[in-house]
Amino acid sequence: MSECGRLSDRMIEVLHLRSNWAAGEVTHLAGCPDCRAEWRVLEAARGLGAAVANRVDPERLGPRVLAGVAAARRRARWLRAGWLGGLAAAAAVTLLLWSPWGNRTRRTTPERELLVPLAELEGLTTQQLEGLLDQFAAPLGSAAASDAPGLGDLGDEELEQVLNTLEG
């Protein structure tokens, strides 16, 4: 790793007061415009957003967060209750259809009709059917994602090569 690359890692340590500059590092920094530019960026980054963040009052935020959690829990309970209500209603309708009052409906829908197979699927072999099922099982967009490897897919050596090109 070049001296500039090594110093780049050290900058974060010094910036966040976890370490101090060594004498040799100060000398390098003084004579290297590229490293000085990086240090200037990092110093600006350290203070970035501080003015906006200072307007957030954690003392007031705590109770608001707790109220938000309670409200979200109430909403979840209400949704669950609504869902269970819907399920109960669906069960009631099903029972009604299967009860003596629902017989008329059953008579108009002979069982044989329900069992008529889909002609398109009937003509397929077992292998073709399995192929179709595999397509349903594959996650959406999986083919596109696998075609485009990200940095996370690269090995250490490949990442090192990329870094070397960045560091010049």
């Binding site: 970035l48 957003g49 906006v52």
Partner: protein, 185 residues
């Protein structure tokens, strides 16, 4: 607050506070908010959220965190986990709004009371240039840079927060620095 009480607050770990909150102690939740709100707000402001958005997003980050505490197994730092939630929230909002990232407004670099305008002008200009530069970076590069430079996280923690690898985070960081150096200097 007495000295022993103060010491006990400092020594209480995030994991302890989470455990107490789950046992019903709501004060532990407010302690966690007080401890981490500023860092989360700075991260969100740095990533382009406006002042009003920041307040709202910080609150929502904690609400989601406390509702999903089962998802935090203590392997990552609690704050790292919060960064992860904040990042996802910001991305969701951005997608929903279907508009470009808002740069930190000039409000974001207003002078604090008591600051000397002459001595802070250079630093403020650099911050403004940086916030503009960050707005031009891809989201992952921007967030990796902020977690590293603004928050001082190690690459391993950044990888956990943003769902990438430490090696990839390192490359994203150097890409971002290279670009920002051109814009800020």
């Amino acid at each position: 607050m007495s000295a022993p009480a103060a010491r006990s607050t400092v020594l209480t770990t995030d994991a302890d506070l989470v455990r107490r909150y789950r046992a019903g102690d709501e004060r532990s939740a407010t302690t966690l908010v007080t401890r981490h709100a500023n860092a989360i707000a700075r991260f969100l402001a740095g990533s382009g959220a406006s002042g009003d958005e920041v307040d709202d997003l910080v609150q929502e980050t904690f609400v989601r965190a406390f509702r999903a505490l089962d998802g935090w197994r203590g392997e990552a730092q609690f704050r790292t986990w919060l960064f992860s939630i904040a990042s996802n929230l910001r991305r969701d909002r951005y997608r929903r709004a279907a508009r470009g990232a808002q740069l930190v407004s000039l409000d974001g670099v207003d002078l604090e009371a008591g600051e000397d305008p002459a001595t802070t002008l250079d630093a403020r200009e650099a911050e403004l240039a940086l916030s503009r530069g960050l707005g031009t970076l891809p989201r992952l590069q921007r967030e990796v840079f902020l977690l590293r430079a603004q928050q001082g996280l190690e690459y391993s923690a950044i990888a956990v927060a943003l769902g990438t690898t430490p090696g990839a985070a390192r490359v994203h960081y150097h890409h971002a620095v290279k670009r920002l150096k051109e814009l800020v200097t």
